[in-house]
Subunit: 324 residues, 2 copies
């Protein structure tokens, strides 16, 4: 990967940095931000990290995560260099107005959405922004200490499913190996990311799996699961405990679509659709007024859950059976 | 890792190899066996792979897996070199009598259980036998092709939870990176290992999770699950469908030990123990005459399952509460 010389130059030359990332931040946004801030501080510069939503509690394990503050506290001066990580427009950061800063810089691995930023370094082929920051820090003089290494290892882990997704390459594992040598503990990170569920959340998963139904719609196999308000109440959980639940039935080889229907606080039904390969669930979601991407989409409906499931299967049949 | 010179010499010198591994083989036993056999064949030698239980269907994706035949078909002659992989005694292979062979060789990463083998190469610190075979093949002249690379990548993936367990080191990721360069596809292997379950297997998982009990033994939290013969019958599954089931309850943050008890065909109970961090389940397994590693061990007992669970919890209390 070729790091733009102008970025290295600015990081070496300037003295004040404000590091921002996208709303609802996950491990790549957070780990990249913290690692970059710590490296800049080690180089004797001022570097602060802000996020509209602050630090989600599940990322409290990240060393240095106390650096992450909310946007309300942000201080940008005409001397500041603003660095936007893991997204590339201001709206995704949760900011509506351009800032009065010295320079703005974007470092991201997502396709461009806007032209924000005086300097833009976008690598859509790179699996994680954490990989870009890793290469960046290797090229700076600061060195990567064990705290930065843990943050970058977490960033790369989240965006590659810890080396399981199709964006994983030999280079990803080489970066991981180097970060372990520099102090990241792979099982600690994996344990915090994948094995730190509350008991209540696990009980909710079991109850959810017990609702599994598998239907064949033409050539498409659809798994449906349901979470009622009563299930949330019984297990002492909330909707925030259901992250990733819709992925579980994808473990079944024959399943093309996994649909999780969960009751909202106002008694509606939120559908989370996940699909494999070429099966496009965004088309089904849009049929119900929802949206999303090809393999992950959703919609919201009122009514009886059994009728909703029937309507959903009908929509699968009408929207997907003729593949285009 | 230092490869015994005698092993390299024998593999180079001898002409006929019989490769064996443990009963109920998993990805490490199978991937290591197939990769070694293919390398030896490429070197112009005869090399056959046998396993008492043949090839479990979930490993049918392994290229070269048609090499794996059942023990009944085994042909050992006085010219054969017998190579035992991923275990180190004949009983684990499912063989009761010593074989009339030229030489026997053991390559394993488990603690020794017996002294079988004219040449023994045991590396208890190594996360997978597949890592040992990887280093071995790097030292031979055969080279590693993409088929061998996929088998070794799978072997290492299985025994490290695809780089998530505490046995994962920088060297593990370096080997993984090299195997990707040599042709292993990380997302293909992950999808086959983690998202290619039969529907029956998924139903068995749900039934298994429904047996979950969580007990507090002093400072240790223990999750137990049970699979009865009746559950296998009802879901149309076998013991080979239970791989990794014992890991599921580890998702719960407070759980230190997850113990899965499954009924064997002859009505005994096989316990699979998994633990986190410093909790050493090998000590508990050895209390019951079993064995294994610190974080993954097992044993076999006769009796009533409720009594076995009670005895197990008592053993946890007696063997773990005073940490040394």
């Amino acid at each position: 990967m070729r790091i733009p010389e102008s970025i290295l130059e600015i990081l070496r030359r300037e003295e004040r940095f404000v590091i921002l990332s996208h709303i609802n931040p996950e491990g790549d946004a957070l780990g990249s931000s913290i690692a970059l801030a710590l490296a800049l501080r080690r180089m004797g510069k001022a570097a602060d990290v802000y996020n509209r939503d602050g630090l989600p509690s599940i990322y409290g394990f990240l060393p240095g995560s106390d650096l992450v503050r909310r946007l309300e506290e942000m201080k940008v001066t005409p001397e500041s260099v603003v660095v936007i990580l893991d997204c590339n427009d201001l709206e995704r950061v949760g900011i509506s107005e351009r800032m009065d800063c010295k320079l703005s810089m974007v470092i991201d691995h997502h396709e461009t959405e806007s032209d924000y930023g005086d300097i833009r370094w976008i690598e859509p082929e790179c699996p994680a922004t954490g990989m870009m920051i890793y290469y960046l820090l290797k090229s700076l003089d600061a060195g990567i200490d064990s705290v930065m290494a843990t943050n970058l290892y977490t960033a790369i882990s989240i965006d590659t499913g810890t080396f399981r997704y199709s964006n994983t390459t030999a280079e990803t594992l080489l970066a991981g190996a180097d970060l372990i040598r520099l102090g990241a503990d792979p099982s600690f990170v994996a344990e915090r990311l994948y094995e730190s569920w509350s008991r209540n959340r696990f009980m909710l998963l079991i109850e959810t799996l017990n609702t599994l139904e598998i239907n064949r719609v033409g050539s498409i196999t659809v798994a449906t699961t349901v979470i009622t308000s009563e299930m949330f109440r019984r297990t002492g959980t909330t909707s925030s405990d259901t992250e990733n639940f819709s992925n579980f039935p994808r473990k079944i080889e024959e399943v093309h679509i996994s649909a999780l229907f969960r009751e909202t606080e106002d008694g509606r039904w939120k559908a989370s659709l996940r699909s494999k390969g070429d099966v496009n669930v965004a088309r089904i979601a849009s049929h119900f007024g929802g949206g999303g991407h090809k393999n992950a989409a959703g919609f919201l409906l009122d009514g009886d859950i059994e009728e909703i499931k029937r309507a959903f299967l009908k929509a699968v049949s009408e929207n997907l059976l003729v593949k285009t």
